[in-house]
């Protein structure tokens, strides 16, 4: 009987049911697709490692894949008991050259291994076409990539390499595993001798792959190897490597989960508001049931079962939408240069997402259900609904405490240097507390906000602005709840925006101070992570010889994933002339003195790292690289925002003794005439385009723009997720407007009867909608900037150089969107108000 009542109620209010379900559908879809997205990323790597390392048992390489291993290691490995076969690799990324244009996209890249032609094949690759030879300029390519670029055995193909463009002949096409898709990038194999030359890598190996003798125990061999391997070199299984990468993207996943959870929170909040309205609208019906003898329990259950039905329907639809949304998210992630293969759906997503969806629905309906069950039978039948009385003082007190706790939690998270679960929870609860606090305070401040906002409307219209403001203020709790729903999504957008603009702003400010060079030559897409191409020392000489060039210097960069400098980078520079190219600033030290010490084999440490590790000038730090572990004295603590200033810097000699990478990452160039660098720029661009096409020439403005673009790209996915949350809350606006139209049937009827046109009535509803969305936007921007401010301050407290910059683009975007969304949300309610039957509206009480 309860079920059938609940079901009838869903069907009787199809419109409202649809709106409620839509909120849940979107929330579940988002959660589902986020889970599937991270599953796709993880399985891309798993697939990659299981197929690329088909017959490989252990991989020997520098700590987590950085630097190169000395060649002498190979013989030691070969003579270790239990090692059957080895294959040494010299690795680099090449880019396909089509019609003399170097493709810059991921799909043009080929991850290329230089191997000895006679070495055993330890990958899972299988030749499917052509001859298995690697003589001279031959290249073998993987089937998928070769097909999509129309290459067959015997074809000639030009690739950009670290030392310039080189023409290869395709000797064979191979197939790895089930056919691999690694974000469109290809895999290639060339002769190791050629690789040494082309990749500017005369010594060392990127890795040594090991296959065990039959019957040999993996752990025994591994511990034997660890005895003979130099410090900083590790033996890992392909699974370990995949796990390392998965651990690295875990942070990204946590952020994704958090945003998806926030949009479900918004969905649950929408349900709460909506069921509150349903209960208000059905007072008489519920009271009637109570007078007829229905117990409180039955009333409560009726509403909860209705929520359950909605939750189930919404969650099922949510999965369907989620399947589509996953595709969108995966292509979005791929577009920011993240390697993702074919979409794979997480099995657990099919269970977790609907459970969360149903829980959010039922949880949201809980309080309205309890409220409904407390309605005294007679009162419900006799009196009209009145808005809940406001407990202003309690709301203000509790709300303020929650906001303060929330900001403290966010600050704690942001100022942390490591992220154990309690810290992450402090941050997550901080955000929830902050939002809950604002929701509590909402009914106190939103009416004022609405009044303020409506001022221009009241001044420019005769009655529309006035009526809209009156309507919006008539039920402060409902208005505030609706605006608060919007506030959450917008606040997160503003918070992300604040982070972005603060990073961008701080970096540009610092770069203006730091950069003295006129041009920078660096790999295309530098800073996006992943292996970076290098450029040879010869290029520096060529650039110096260009007319108009005053000087040039090379630097090297490496992202460190372990040891003292974990999550920082190492940077090599020439201490003798680096001061010409950049203003380096050190804590209480003169740059010349510091550089003199660098030349003697000391290093500098970035301020944030030094603070985190409590390192002082004169201390000794240990850097681990594939060339061994080195104890080095700290010459200075560096401040600033450039890549170099955020890195552990050292001289070229120190660099080689630790990491053993010859190629340069950047070349900094000075012009003879800094006020007129144009002629040099043209020459430089022509040289780099012709001979080093994987590199590009950037002016300082372009560098700043590039950093800005990269930050914005990374944030794009969060914006998309929050957009879904905002759309969810927009459904709340529609719901509230419909309810207001319903409750104001009589007033609207009167207006129509005494001569308001349909358009006037529509305009009232549109104005009301705008007041709501703008209130949500203003509240959201304020809360979001507070959130962003707390976050930026926290990051600054952790030692990073960042100052708060208001997110101007996000503010403009939100302002425009809230107006557009306000008008869209009003369409249906305005139509309903305009089409109202005037006689019915005015005749009956």
């Amino acid at each position: 009987m309860i079920r059938s009542l609940a079901w009838r109620s869903v069907r009787a209010r199809k419109g409202r049911a649809f709106l409620n379900a839509a909120g849940i559908v979107l929330g579940v879809a988002l959660f589902f697709s986020v889970l599937s997205l991270s599953k796709t990323i993880v399985s891309t790597f798993d697939e990659l490692f299981s197929s690329v390392y088909g017959d490989t048992d252990l991989i020997i390489s520098g700590n987590e894949g950085v630097g190169t291993v000395e060649e002498s290691v190979l013989d030691k490995v070969r003579s270790t008991k239990g090692v059957e076969e080895t294959q040494s690799v010299v690795f680099a990324i090449m880019s396909l050259v089509k019609d003399d244009e170097v493709g810059g996209s991921q799909a043009d890249q080929v991850f290329t291994n230089g191997v000895a032609p006679d070495s055993p094949e330890l990958s899972g690759a299988e030749i499917v076409a052509g001859e298995d030879t690697l003589d001279g300029n031959q290249v073998q390519l993987d089937e998928g990539w070769a097909n999509s670029n129309g290459l067959k055995p015997g074809d000639k193909a030009k690739f950009a390499t670290p030392t310039g463009v080189h023409e290869f002949t395709v000797s064979a096409i191979f197939k790895i595993g089930k056919g691999l898709d690694f974000g469109g990038s290809g895999f290639g194999v060339i002769n190791q001798d050629l690789a040494r030359e082309l990749f500017d890598s005369p010594t060392g190996f990127t890795e040594i792959d090991v296959a065990l003798a039959p019957g040999a125990d993996l752990e025994t061999v591994r511990s034997e190897l660890e005895k003979i391997l130099p410090e900083g070199v590790e033996a890992k299984t392909p699974n370990d490597v995949a796990d390392d990468i998965n651990a690295q993207i875990q942070g990204f996943n946590i952020i994704l989960y958090f945003f998806a959870a926030m949009s479900l929170f918004v969905g649950g909040f929408l349900i709460l508001n909506s069921f509150n309205m349903t209960v208000a609208q059905r007072l008489r019906e519920i009271g009637m049931l109570r007078t007829l003898g229905a117990s409180r329990k039955i009333v409560r259950r009726m509403i909860l079962v209705e929520a359950l039905l909605l939750g189930i329907i919404g969650s099922l639809l949510g999965i369907v939408v989620g399947l589509l949304l996953t595709q969108l998210m995966v292509s979005l992630v791929a577009s920011i240069g993240f390697p993702v293969g074919a979409v794979s759906y997480a099995p657990e997503a099919f269970i977790i997402a609907p459970i969360l969806g149903v829980s959010a629905t039922v949880f949201g309906a809980l309080r309205p259900a309890i409220r409904a069950s407390r309605i005294p039978p007679i009162q419900a039948v006799l009196t009209e609904h009145r808005a809940e009385p406001l407990k202003l003082k309690r709301r203000l007190t509790v709300g303020t405490v929650l906001v303060a706790l929330g900001l403290a939690g966010v600050f704690t998270l942001a100022s942390a240097t490591s992220f154990p679960t309690p810290i992450l929870l402090a941050g997550a609860f901080g955000v929830v507390f902050l939002f809950s606090g604002v929701i509590m305070i909402g009914p106190v401040i939103v009416p004022w906000l609405v009044r303020g906002e409506s001022w221009p409307l009241r001044k420019t219209t005769q009655i529309e602005g006035r009526m809209a403001a009156d309507n919006a203020r008539a039920n402060p709790i409902r208005t505030a709840s609706t605006a608060s729903g919007l506030m959450i999504g917008i606040a997160l957008v503003a918070a992300i925006g604040s982070l972005g603009s603060s990073f961008i702003g701080s970096i540009s400010d610092d770069l203006d101070k730091e950069l003295k060079n006129d041009f920078t030559v660096q790999p295309k897409g530098f800073g996006q992570g992943g292996p970076t191409p290098t450029i040879s020392a010869a290029a520096i000489g060529q650039i110096k010889d260009l007319p108009g060039a005053k000087d040039a210097t090379g630097t090297r960069f490496l992202f460190l994933t372990s040891g003292y400098g974990k999550n920082y980078s190492a940077w090599s520079l020439d201490p003798s002339n680096y001061a010409e190219f950049a203003n380096s600033e050190f804590v209480d030290a003169d740059a010349d003195e510091v550089f003199a010490k660098l030349a003697e084999g000391q290093v500098t440490v970035p301020e944030a790292l030094a603070e985190g590790k409590k390192t002082k000038v004169g201390d000794t730090i240990t850097l681990e690289g594939p060339r061994g572990s080195k104890k080095l004295t700290v010459a200075g603590i560096q401040t600033g925002s450039s890549f170099a200033a955020q890195s552990i810097t050292m001289s070229d000699e120190t660099w080689m003794s630790v990491y053993g990478i010859d190629g340069f990452t950047q070349i900094l160039v000075l012009a003879d005439d800094p006020d007129n660098p144009g002629p040099l720029e043209d020459q430089l661009r022509a040289l780099v385009a012709a001979e080093y096409p994987t590199f590009e020439v950037l002016s300082n403005e372009e560098i700043k723009q590039q950093i800005q673009d990269q930050i914005n790209q990374v944030f794009a996915i969060f914006y998309v997720i929050m957009l879904v949350a905002i759309i969810v809350s927009l459904l709340g606006v529609i719901n509230t407007l419909l309810m207001n139209v319903f409750e104001r049937t009589r007033e609207i009827g009167v207006l129509r009867a005494i001569g308001s046109s349909r358009w006037q009535v529509r305009r009232i509803i549109i104005a009301e909608s705008l007041l709501l969305t703008l209130a949500g936007a203003i509240l959201g921007l304020l809360v979001g900037m507070a959130l962003g401010y707390a976050f930026v301050k926290g990051i600054a407290a952790s030692g990073q150089e960042v100052a708060f910059h208001p997110p101007i683009p996000a503010i403009v975007l939100v302002a425009i969107l809230s107006v557009i969304f306000g008008v869209i949300a009003a369409l249906l309610p305005a139509r309903r108000a305009a089409k109202m039957n005037v006689i019915e509206a005015v005749s009956y009480e």
Binding site: Q462, I463, R466, M467, D470, A474, R746, E747, G749, V750, L751, R752, A753, I754, G755, S756, S757, R758, Q760, V838, I839, V842, S843, E845
Partner: protein, 259 residues
């Protein structure tokens, strides 16, 4: 026909009567059932007249009023308000007519709860797009007419039922309409307050010369009109002059028993 003519006569007045209804028919259909609410009504209301319309439930009196108020369309016949035909009016034209030529007085007052008495009175002109500053003077005059000058700044919730209805009368006069339509104006008031409101309506008619049509089922209220028209089963069943409630009650009783 009245001999009363407005000052600029020929320009605006084509007929001396405020309302002319000829052969008015209206049928409500829903699915397979249809109800003929008005079966051919002929009615003329002179300018400055106060006519009460009475009839049992379902007689068609509400339908007649809604059609005269341009809230409802009709199937056949013709209706003219101040010489303007209501046949085939679209929503826009009907809205303008309601705004400029009709004043409504409802049983449940229907004042906007968030506006003061004065603002409620000004409302029809605000809707018409006139500036509030100019309107204040006229609204204050009207509030004085209905004896509520000291209540101008009060919200409806702070006024008694009688006061609310007087504000509603003032509102209906704001645009100086051709026709006032009062739907059971005393239905929600006690006898004494109701009587005061009716006195006021009479004043509005006799002193300001407004035309009023009032639908009611209260014979005492109807007796304040200059004549009382009876409706039964969608047709005019007869009429008596106003003044004597007993005569109205007798006629009404006879109407109920007539076959």
């Amino acid at each position: 026909m009245s001999t009363q003519l407005s000052a600029d006569g020929v320009n605006t007045v084509t007929s001396a009567s405020a309302v002319q209804v000829h052969g008015l028919r209206k049928t409500y259909s829903s699915g397979s059932t249809s109800v003929e609410a008005l079966k051919g009504i002929d009615l003329t209301i002179d300018r400055g007249e106060f006519v009460a319309v009475m009839g049992p439930s379902g007689s068609g009196k509400s339908t007649l009023m809604h059609i005269l108020g341009a809230l409802e369309s009709f199937d056949d016949g013709d209706v003219e308000i101040g010489g303007l035909s209501l046949s085939g009016l679209d929503d826009k034209a009907a809205t303008v007519l309601r705004r400029d030529s009709i004043g409504f007085i409802f049983q449940f007052f229907n004042l906007l709860p968030t506006m003061t008495a004065e603002e409620n009175v000004m409302l029809p002109s605000l809707i018409a797009g006139e500036r509030a500053g100019v309107l204040k003077e006229r609204a204050d005059e009207l509030l004085e007419l209905v004896g509520l000058t000291d209540r101008a700044e009060h919200l409806p919730s702070q006024l008694s039922g009688g006061e609310q209805q007087r504000v509603s009368v003032a509102r209906s006069l704001m645009r100086d309409p051709e026709l006032l339509l009062a739907d059971e104006p005393t239905g929600n008031l006690d006898t004494r307050t109701g009587s005061a409101v009716l006195d006021m309506l009479r004043d509005v008619q006799t002193k300001a010369g407004h035309t009023i049509m009032m639908v009611t089922h209260d014979a005492v209220a109807a007796s304040r009109a200059s004549r009382v028209v009876f409706l039964r089963d969608g047709l005019i069943a007869g009429e008596v002059p106003g003044g004597d409630p007993n005569r109205i009650i007798e006629f009404f009783a006879e109407l109920e028993t007539r076959n």
